[in-house]
């Protein structure tokens, strides 16, 4: 007995843009009454959203850095212009959803960050690169520059297109 499918990587480290899109989408569709989903930059299509949802559910616990969580707050305000009650509702939902995904959050202090990576990638990706190197985890990002750095450091990296491909061939 057995499956010819290779196991999918678990406990991925997720960047701010993908986690932001995922949380915004889930928040909108689970709101009562539902909120129209705004245009999302990364999870732009119905299938990408479904694929990402499917993958995170099976890959939990997910991981990220506190810098990513802080960035999500900034993105909600700058990209979506969410303030006051909408922003508060979003965070009430996001906290529950991140708990469901058993989010693990590890801090890489700015003073401990790689001095070569920090000027090039900023604190968010530098923290993710450091966590990935430390835990040998898959990084989820669609951003070209950090993806290149992951390749250079032999850190496994997937974007939304890799997740879509896995979903298409695996979902029963």
């Amino acid at each position: 007995m057995g499956s010819s499918l290779s196991p999918l990587p678990k406990s991925p480290l997720i960047d701010a843009n993908l986690l932001f899109d995922y949380l915004v989408w889930r928040f909108c569709v689970q709101a009562d009454p539902p909120i129209e989903v705004p245009n999302l930059q990364k999870l732009s299509t119905r299938d990408l959203k479904e694929a990402f949802h499917w993958y995170l559910d099976l890959a939990k616990p997910i991981q990220t850095s506190p810098q990513v969580v802080a960035e999500i707050h900034g993105l909600a305000k700058s990209r979506l212009e969410w303030y006051d009650e909408r922003l508060a509702s979003f965070w009430r939902f996001a906290q529950r959803e991140l708990a469901r995904l058993r989010l693990q959050e590890d801090l890489i202090r700015i003073l401990e960050m790689d001095p070569d990576d920090l000027p090039s990638f900023g604190p968010i990706y530098t923290s993710l690169l450091a966590l990935a190197a430390r835990s040998d985890s898959l990084v989820l990002t669609d951003e070209g520059k950090p993806r290149g750095r992951c390749d250079g450091k032999q850190i496994r990296v997937w974007g939304s297109s890799e997740i879509l491909a896995e979903w298409q061939t695996r979902v029963p």
Partner: protein, 223 residues
């Protein structure tokens, strides 16, 4: 009024490109003969009508595109009819199986065999009561599922008995379903070809890129 650049861009970016992307994904499912049928809803979860791929913000552009492009509209409507035929065929094939006494008995017997040989930790195979488990198995058969990932509850059961259970995937209702799937695949290809043709024509005539892009020359210096 003659079609202008902005309106054509709206069609390409908010209607044509998302549909072409969706049709590519659907072709993967259709080639696997995984119709993504779900017995709980009676629907094809990941093969919806094409308008379902248009975002809320893009809906007016969809309506404009559909009313302005009769050739594409005809193909899309035909495709959505074929999709409905496949949905109906999947429901009939699934109903045929779950009404078949021999099938229900077989699933129950295999479930008992499985539990007799597996440790108790593996006995839970789905969220369904035992007497309804055959409904999920019938869904797997309708969707011609081969391997399933190991985080699904029925992974061990299915891996072990899949070949035996797939013997039930035969008869007129399954032939009809296969035919409907094939026809939907052909219609999807026709829609994709038409959308690609329209995109090429608009892009060439009005000098429009096929996808939005970031123009560095327009970036604000110093940011």
């Amino acid at each position: 009024m003659e079609l202008g650049r902005e309106r054509a861009k709206a069609w390409i970016y908010s209607v044509i490109n998302p549909l072409l992307e969706a049709l590519r994904t659907q072709s993967v499912f259709l080639k696997r003969r995984n119709w993504t049928f779900r017995f709980s809803s009676g629907n094809l979860e990941f093969i919806p009508p094409l308008h379902a791929y248009i975002t809320y913000q893009g809906r007016p552009n969809w309506e404009d595109f559909i009313s302005s492009n009769p050739s594409a509209r005809e193909r899309i409507e035909n495709r959505d009819r074929r999709r409905e035929e496949l949905r109906n065929a999947c429901n009939l094939a699934w109903r045929y199986l779950v009404d078949l006494e021999e099938f229900r008995q077989k699933v129950l017997a295999l479930l008992n065999e499985f539990r007799a040989e597996e440790p108790p930790a593996n006995h839970r195979v789905s969220g369904l009561p035992d007497e309804e488990f055959h409904r999920l198995v019938a869904e797997r058969i309708v969707n011609d599922i081969g391997d399933i990932p190991d985080h699904y509850g029925d992974y061990r059961f299915w891996s072990r008995f899949r070949d035996e259970l797939m013997q039930f995937r035969r008869g007129p209702s399954f032939e009809q379903m296969e035919q409907a799937g094939l026809q939907l695949g052909n219609c999807n290809n026709e829609v994709a070809a038409e959308l690609t043709r329209v995109r090429e024509e608009l892009a060439s005539k009005l000098d429009i890129p096929w996808a939005p892009y970031y123009d560095e020359s327009l970036a604000v210096p110093g940011r």
